[in-house]
Symmetry: C2
Subunit: 211 residues, 2 copies
Amino acid sequence: MKTSDDLNKTLYKLKLTSKGQATRNRIVEAAADLMSERGIGRTSVEDVQRLAKVSASQLYHYFSDKKELVRAVIAHQTEAVLDAQQPYLSKLDSFEALQSWRDLIIEIQTQRQCKTGCPIGSLVGEISETEEEARSELVSCFAQWEAEISRGLHEMYNRGELRSESNPASLALALLTALQGGLLLSQVRREVAPLAAGLDAVLDHIRSFAT
Amino acid sequence: MKTSDDLNKTLYKLKLTSKGQATRNRIVEAAADLMSERGIGRTSVEDVQRLAKVSASQLYHYFSDKKELVRAVIAHQTEAVLDAQQPYLSKLDSFEALQSWRDLIIEIQTQRQCKTGCPIGSLVGEISETEEEARSELVSCFAQWEAEISRGLHEMYNRGELRSESNPASLALALLTALQGGLLLSQVRREVAPLAAGLDAVLDHIRSFAT
DNA sequence: TATTTTCTGGATTGTCAACTCCATTTTTGC
DNA sequence: GCAAAAATGGAGTTGACAATCCAGAAAATA
């Protein structure tokens, strides 16, 4: 049963020492690394403890249970993924920028040797049905991502670089879709070809709306 | 340790009574249903036993361990997924056929209320790293799928319905990519919009190569 | 029919992983 | 400097779940 203190800790995040903050970060990062490599189910909290070099009581001092840790991981990965795509992502307002962004993504996936998929997307299958809260956090993560892409396309549209019959919002969603599918297939096939094919098809399609 | 009898059973699939075959099927179908809904990790063999109405000894009579059951599930889902898209999938050799196929997929995902993703794709994140054998079965499943799509596009190409500068193989891969990404996003967002946006973008792109 | 093989029931075991407890040390705020 | 709060160590508990075992029923085969 949850005491009201636990509730406070969960909802209002009681004070953390800078040392405590550091420990918490170490835990989240370790968990994020392990989970994006093996998935949630195959990552035990003991594994996380070992990698983060913390004891059980430390981990449960900062997170009430594994679910809460997973939620923290989602938040952490959201930030990490969006950050990794800067400064391109926030300025996707030209065909050149889109192309550079595409190249960056391919580069990132190449560097990790296609051993993982999207740090966010790969979690979808492991929570969707069971944890409503985690799912909605994933949704908002994707929404942020989509919004960044969408913003750039809208700017191009407003500047008249995309013809009026184009639909920037749909195109942004299609790009994110190709990205997710591409990462998934590239992970399982251990090659970037699907990612490249998916992104390039949608990018070509976007270019077809050039004025 | 594996006895040579177990080895025989695994490799050559000893004789199965028709009754035995039925039991085995019940197990695989139950496992497939549960795993595509909750994932592998959250599906216990006990859950499978309950749903399939079999005892533990029955399940382990047909499968040496959970991993083997998972492999059977992959094979089963491969067939189920490809079958569900017939007769469209095997005749994707016209723009109308492509459109009908797209409509069918949206319809399927709508009917399952976006509660699951791709029965195959959603397994990727839960095995990739750990079980090499299962991964390669997933790869060949996707390869079959891609080949079916590719065949249709190549026929169009050879018939001169797609311009010579188009690349049917890439387009097929892009379609599969959009499909996977679309199913993933539609699952987490509980709406078909991403699936539609992804597929429509690639289909429009393919149409742009029409002669 | 006899005998071998396949199939089934269900109790049991062993392992592993999530989570708890309590004592102790460190840090903070007054 | 001194309470109070936060951080840490690590052994211990609990439950779930994969897998086993032994015995017996049904079915195939000769």
